[in-house]
């Protein structure tokens, strides 16, 4: 009754229906998960019906390709089943697993479909194999190469994050030199034994992956842990510096650089606000309420200065309030630093909001929140 192709989709459909039932009655609160599973059931059910009605696409007995060879054993159904499982597991764990499952499933379906088609293309097995390769190798090789490179790069990045910064740089230089040397060797000695070339590549890749796994086991180096704890890009701690590991020029971030509302310039001991779209310097800035607003403090005066944003006070507990203050770090002349302000209350709520620079008297920019 069931054709070969329809069996698989019937199985997926059945499994999806069971998963849908379990998800709906035992786990699910999310409409997305239910929709995904129902979609799977519907799609695979449709494909089952389609394959049954067309008998796997065979119009009639005469239309069946004239192959006499038995189909080869294939690993793709197994991989497709793993992909399907991952998709289902992802709906109740994390979307990344679902995404990975979809990729695996799609790859397996493409490979399996092309393999099945090519095996029925003619009665010549060698021709059929060549046909499959001609179709899929242009996709398989770049994808596998990208995945392999990704694994190597990711592994090496774990090493550089785990070891001392200078050791990491040295290792990078050495590895680069080794890769270059191997490349040169392969190009000037094209007649090297195939086994030797493969051996060098495998040893190198396995070595890097092993080093990466070791690096992951060791964890990132201490200074990066500290920097993460203290906030790499939004350092808002006033008072003495606690860490020496901060990036003094955090505006490398594209999003921050592209989204600056106002530059606060300290030029020869005078503060001035350069508001985007306004040509003249201002001594007040207006920012909208409850909306994160990026301002950049640029120190163009001799000496180290920080910008301090005094943004009123907030209630901590009943009857107890504390001042809301945000600061940049002390930054040297020629440096700049980002500060993101989000003020939930209007200026009329209390004392004026200001931007000041400790150590400079008479220099203040009023922050108006309508």
């Amino acid at each position: 009754m069931f054709s070969t192709g329809s069996k698989y989709f019937f199985g997926v459909s059945f499994l999806g229906a069971v998963s849908f039932g379990i998800y709906m009655f035992l786990i699910g609160e999310s409409a997305i998960g239910a929709t995904a599973l129902f979609g799977l059931v519907a799609a695979s059910g449709l494909l089952t019906a389609l394959l049954l009605s067309t008998r796997d696409g065979a119009k009639d007995e005469d239309g069946v390709a004239a192959t006499t060879a038995a189909p080869t054993g294939s690993i793709w159904p197994l991989i497709a089943a793993v992909g399907t499982t991952l998709v289902l597991v992802g709906t109740i764990t994390t979307p990344v697993v679902t995404l990975f499952g979809i990729v695996v499933l799609l790859a397996a379906l493409i490979e399996w479909t092309v393999l099945s088609w090519s095996e029925r293309a003619s009665s010549d097995v060698a021709y059929n194999t060549a046909l499959r390769k001609r179709l899929l190798n242009p996709i398989e090789f770049p994808v596998l190469a990208a995945v392999g490179l990704g694994v190597v790069i990711f592994s090496f990045s774990r090493v550089t994050l785990a070891v001392n910064k200078s050791v990491g740089a040295t290792a990078f230089i050495l590895l680069g030199a080794l890769v270059l040397a191997a490349g040169v060797l392969f190009s000037i000695r094209p007649n090297l034994k195939r086994g030797l070339v493969i051996g060098i590549c495998v040893v190198g890749a396995v070595g890097i992956v092993a080093a990466g796994i070791t690096g992951m086991g060791l964890g990132v180096r201490e200074e990066l842990v500290l920097a993460k704890e203290e906030g790499h890009y939004v350092h808002q701690q006033c008072g003495a510096e606690k860490s020496e590991f901060f990036d003094k020029r955090p505006l490398g971030g594209v999003s921050a650089t592209a989204s600056v509302d106002t530059h606060i310039d300290l030029i020869d001991g005078k503060l001035v606000a350069m508001v985007q779209g306004v040509t003249k310097g201002q001594n007040t800035i207006t920012i909208s309420r409850s909306n994160p607003t990026n301002i950049v403090f640029r120190n163009n005066s001799n000496g180290e200065y920080r910008l301090v944003a005094s943004l009123g006070s907030k209630m901590v507990t009943a009857g107890v309030s504390e001042d809301v203050v945000q600061c940049t770090q002390l930054i040297p002349q020629g440096s700049e630093q980002l500060l993101t302000l989000k003020v939930p209350k209007p200026s009329v709520a209390g004392k004026p909001y200001t931007l000041t620079v400790p150590g400079l008297t008479g220099q203040s920019i009023e922050v108006i929140v309508p």
Partner: protein
């Protein structure tokens, strides 16, 4: 006999072809009539072909010739394709001789479109740069979009008499003949600000400030619409730019800077103020409002709304709209009077604000009775788990008819 059958079949085919021609002609005629009738609309405030300011005029100067060129090319291509389809359709004729390539024709057909596109491109790029010019800006207004209304705040600009910041919503008030720079951003999702009569559209993106210059030639009201899909009530996210003469604009500024006057004691409006303080100030600010102990009333939209802001209702009745310009504060008669006014009398009519006799009681009361029933706003309390209990718009406050009566009386005092 066979010959007779062939003749009959030919006649049937010709009849079918004639029938098909009639249907095609009918469809084309229907479409053309629909397009023609659509172009006759008189009440089309967002018509992109009627510029009312220099920026929109620049766009118009570009779009008309480009539209003409594109239209002519479109007609030529369509005619050629249809002719080819009909003339060379399969009639059982032998397969014509196959040929590959005609260098002269191909080069010609490449060069001509390239030239046309180059000419269009030059003028387009020039217009884009013209529209981006902000160096001669005369006035600045910050525009903040959120689901589903626009907030306008005017930074201090002494040359326009704005000695304190002004905040309003729904209607953007500008002086006519003045180059106004809108600094646009958003508090939640991407919106897009577009008043077709004054300029092209510009996205308002969270975390970014986008610049958009507008200028109105004459006093009047110019309608617009958010043009970036932004959620459930995107279609209700409207805006209106109100251009006033410079003298009238100065009067408007002076009114906006007036300090808050609480309603007289023992009046319905005073009772309404108490209801407002109890219910509405959870989100809505009225500048200058104070409690009985003299402390200022500060709204807390950050605790109740996803966007962290609700329209500031100071001087509400100086506007003609509410709820993100979705509804008119003026009733139909008074609205027609303002919208239909000529540019000389418009300012005085607009500045008269909303009196009790002109108030659109139906919509305002309906709004207070059940806001989400009038404008969809995801405000079912049972569905707020993903937003930490915060709303995306005004919920149903469950006000009594008595409360609504008092609130309407109070809101009418916010001139």
């Amino acid at each position: 006999m066979r010959h007779q059958n062939t003749t009959e079949r030919t006649a049937t085919g010709i009849n079918r072809l004639a029938g098909m021609h009639r249907r095609v002609i009918g469809v084309v005629a229907g479409l053309a009539t629909t397009m023609f009738l659509a172009s006759c609309a008189t009440n089309a405030p967002q018509d992109t072909w009627k510029p009312k300011g220099p920026n929109a005029q620049k766009i118009d100067n570009l779009q008309k010739p480009v539209f003409a060129i594109a239209g002519i090319i479109g007609v030529i291509v369509t005619v050629v394709v249809i002719t080819a389809v009909i003339k060379f359709r399969d009639k059982g004729q032998p397969m014509p001789r196959q040929s590959h390539g005609n260098p002269a024709l191909e080069i010609t057909l490449t060069i001509i479109p390239a030239l046309i596109l180059t000419i269009v491109g030059v003028f387009t790029v020039r217009t884009v740069f013209d529209l981006a010019k902000t160096s001669d800006t005369e006035m600045i207004i910050n525009v903040t979009g959120q689901q589903w209304w626009w907030e306008y705040d005017y930074p201090v600009q002494n040359e326009f008499g704005i000695t304190q910041p002004i905040i309003t919503s729904g209607q953007l008030v500008i002086p006519a003949g003045t180059k106004v720079l809108l600094r646009e951003t958003s508090r939640d999702v991407i919106h897009s600000y577009w008043i077709p009569a004054l300029n092209g559209k510009r996205d308002a993106v969270p975390g970014r400030v986008q610049l958009n210059r507008i200028e109105a030639d004459k006093p009047g009201i110019y309608a617009g619409q958010c043009t970036e899909f932004c959620g459930l009530s995107h279609a209700n996210m409207r805006m209106e730019a109100v251009a006033l003469s410079k003298a009238d604009f100065a009067k408007w500024v002076a009114n906006q800077l007036k300090t808050y006057t609480p309603p007289a004691e023992n009046t319905l409006a005073k009772e309404g103020e108490a209801v407002f303080m109890n219910q509405c100030t959870r989100c809505h600010q009225v500048n200058g409002m104070k409690r009985a102990d003299g402390t200022p009333v500060i709204a807390a939209p950050d605790e109740n709304l996803v966007s962290g802001a609700a329209p500031n209702l100071s001087h509400l009745m100086s506007r003609n709209t509410f709820a993100g310009a979705t509804f008119d504060l003026l009733n139909t008669t008074c609205r027609k009077d303002v919208w239909g006014a000529d540019s000389e009398s418009f300012g005085a009519k607009y500045l008269s604000g909303v009196s009790e006799s002109c108030l659109n009681q139906t919509d305002l009361r309906g709004w207070l009775r059940n806001a989400p029933g009038m404008k969809p706003m995801y405000s079912n309390p049972a569905l707020l788990a993903s937003t930490g209990g915060k709303y995306r718009g005004m919920p149903n406050l469950g006000l009594t008819e008595s409360d609504i009566e008092k609130l309407v009386a109070y809101l009418l005092t916010l001139k």
